[in-house]
Symmetry: D3
Subunit: 186 residues, 6 copies
């Protein structure tokens, strides 16, 4: 069974490099995330997706991995994307060691006691999710005022934009998250 | 000057492969699209972006290149993204040879005389841009009813989602389109 | 400390009947729910609230307690009410014995595999939360078509409306849920 | 005939206490308000509703009865609830002795020449009706700045929230207001 | 004092023709409607406005004057325009001889017991007020199905569009309705 | 063929004055704008429309013709009116001699480098297009702060309101712009 509502079975056989990547996921996470299994009907698409994802979420950045995951969850909450709230909500719980924080960001990030820098990031990310055609210099300046560099602003914008993409792919295809996430780091 | 409101100058020197890619752009288009120049402060990010872009917009698909560009423009119009409307509006004019069609998709695609298959794609793409948390099987079935395969649906969804990402990066950074686009294919 | 952002300390001493009620909460739940502590600055208000709450959520009805809690959570999700999502999300997990179901209703109820009767209830409850000035006979008939009696419709409407009230009291006063809820029934 | 679209006839006979209450309504108002007749299919529900209503609208408060009715009407206008606009619009006309004020609050309260304290209350009440998940300390402080105590803020919030409940019950059941209201205090 | 928040006093003296027109208003209505006094700072503008108004609202049409006034009020209610709700609400009460109908259209036209033809007109007028960029042939056909000619559709559209103009002029300038309207035809 | 989806053929013969007016259009523009041909089924309606149009867009005003056209296009963009974006977008290109400016106003006026006075006008015009029931003295004052007189404010409001009318007539009737506009002043 595919992890989406589309009948797009995994390439068979997967190329050795992909097999190694999936084996690594199983080793580290206990399972292959369904988003990867969903893209695996076309290895070029899978590779393009993981390259972008890994650069944004795991690559060098002035934003911590937790900050990037909080942006991911705040955007996914605004968009009500079930897949991403489950998968990245678990990541926030895990990286922060604070299960309550995970629920706060997933339900309404405004209720969390966040430092002003993070609050500004999430406010920008949510603004980018909604009426972004009206974003102006003052919005970027609000981030600089909290100490973010222009490179940091690029990263906030890129992560927020990326989840506006993946939220839509996941929701449009009814992508199902792996059940393992639900109980993680509670 | 950078093509965005962020002070992120191009890597200097660019790696030879990027230099060749940019030279190819100048040869084919007459200029390097500003979106590439914007990403060029970090070559890994540039490569990840172009790999995804090229796969989606130029790779093999049941959707024609014009259909993919029309999805790009319909999404960008919904989002009022100046950069993407200018750049991809020009692409619709060029690929279709119909300047009026370009304006129709950019201003209000519903006014265009489109075949039902394309109309269904654009309706789905715009729905994905707005209230996509409510997308259901019936929405996907509407595409199948117009003859789209599940792979085609994936491609419609991926292109619509991608421009929901790039529209946001462009607008959040005040990315400016190259002035050459405005007069093209009028 | 009060459980809201308002400086409204509990009546002191609480009347014996209230003390007994709170003791019963501790016995059954392990704590006094913060919403009760918030109202306890005025015992008349507390009593009026609990009378209405208990009638709606625990009183005789054609709707099961789980169905009523799912309505509560679907409304609270639409409204992004942190207090109610945490407290009633736990109730859905507990009453259903299905932690995943709890997250589905809290994040996006449309992703849950629900019987048509429940799906119709939640659709009506969410419609009542949004553009309810346009509710018409057809909306009520959709519930009757799933086998709901007029009394059942009253109960769906009353529960959905009640959480539109309490979501607002909780959010307007920044009411904090008891931390015990987060880990329950995971 | 019931005063709603639901076939839920009044309990028969009504308990003596309810009969006395309804007789008192007729004596004071000339009729039994339809909202009471609607709830009278179940005397427990009727009692829970009237206890909460009477506490909020008639009980001790730092807000005058007219102020509470203006909140009721401003919320009902935002929600376009016909029943509540008719019934509580009449109350504003009656309590203020100013028929024009009644129409102003019912049509667009921003056009009324209100003292800043009342204007702040109505602004808060309408904000609670719309995007209340974003209410923050600054919103509560704006009320304190106009001299409201925390208890007053609770009362503004409770009345605004209550009408967000009753507007929904009334609209979801197509509750009809008594025709006598229309001509009152014109 | 001007009837708006703008300091634009009436032309002085008014041309004889305008004086006769205003005298006629006083004779027929008891006062000069403030909208005319507002435009009277520039007689050309006044004449252009009244010519269009009189053609639309009083000229020959397949729509009765009451139907046109109901469209005016339904649009003004959607837009929450105080001036137009007061002035044209009075007109609906007067032309229909039914004060309750006036309140229904002004508060929520969906609650009124209207013949399908009128209901279709008001639905179209409200659709034109909101998301009119999505109006399609099916919307026009819905009016034809109720027996409207293409000329009737033009008139529905023109009246709905006209009040979308005047609602905005009135609200942008804080135009005050004549107090005489409030008590009329109650 | 009529220039709208309604079967409302032009009066035949047109009165001599209208014939002269249409001939003048052909001489000056090369064609009769379709909006005039659409109204020409009823000469009184055509005359009322053109009188108002000519007064607002061509008559004496503290706003330049280009400023009025920019308001027209900014409103039409907000409303996504294809007819008006095409026809008045061409006017902005022509009057400004700046094709890029035409696209900026039509796609997202916020991206244009406008003097503060014009930016304030367009912001007011767009505010009038959306949530205008909340326009307050502060909004008008923002225009006075940029040097606009009360008469100028009236003109901004009138032009913005007028295009909120014509956008709706055009969209409700599926009015088609003359194809000549597309290539003008590129």
């Amino acid at each position: 069974m595919t992890p989406t509502a589309l009948d797009l079975p995994q390439a068979n056989p997967l190329p050795p490099e992909t097999q190694r990547y999936f084996a690594l996921c199983v080793e580290k996470l206990g399972f292959v995330p369904n988003v990867l299994r969903a893209y695996a009907f076309d290895v070029d698409k899978l590779n393009a997706f993981t390259a972008l994802y890994n650069d944004l979420m795991l690559g060098p950045s002035g934003l911590s991995k937790l900050e990037r995951e909080m942006i991911a969850v705040a955007v996914s909450a605004e968009n009500r994307c079930f897949y991403c709230l489950v998968a990245h909500g678990a990541a926030v719980r895990q990286l922060s060691g604070d299960p309550e924080l995970g629920e706060r960001i997933a339900f309404n990030w405004r209720t969390a006691a966040l430092e002003p820098r993070v609050r500004a990031m999430l406010a920008f990310a949510v603004r980018m999710t909604r009426a972004f055609a009206e974003i102006a210099e003052a919005d970027r300046q609000a981030l600089r005022d909290e100490g973010l560099s222009d490179r940091d602003i690029w990263d906030v914008a890129s992560v927020a934009a990326f989840f506006n993409m993946t939220n839509r792919v996941a929701s449009a295809t009814a992508m199902e998250p792996n059940p393992e996430y639900h109980g993680q780091a509670r």
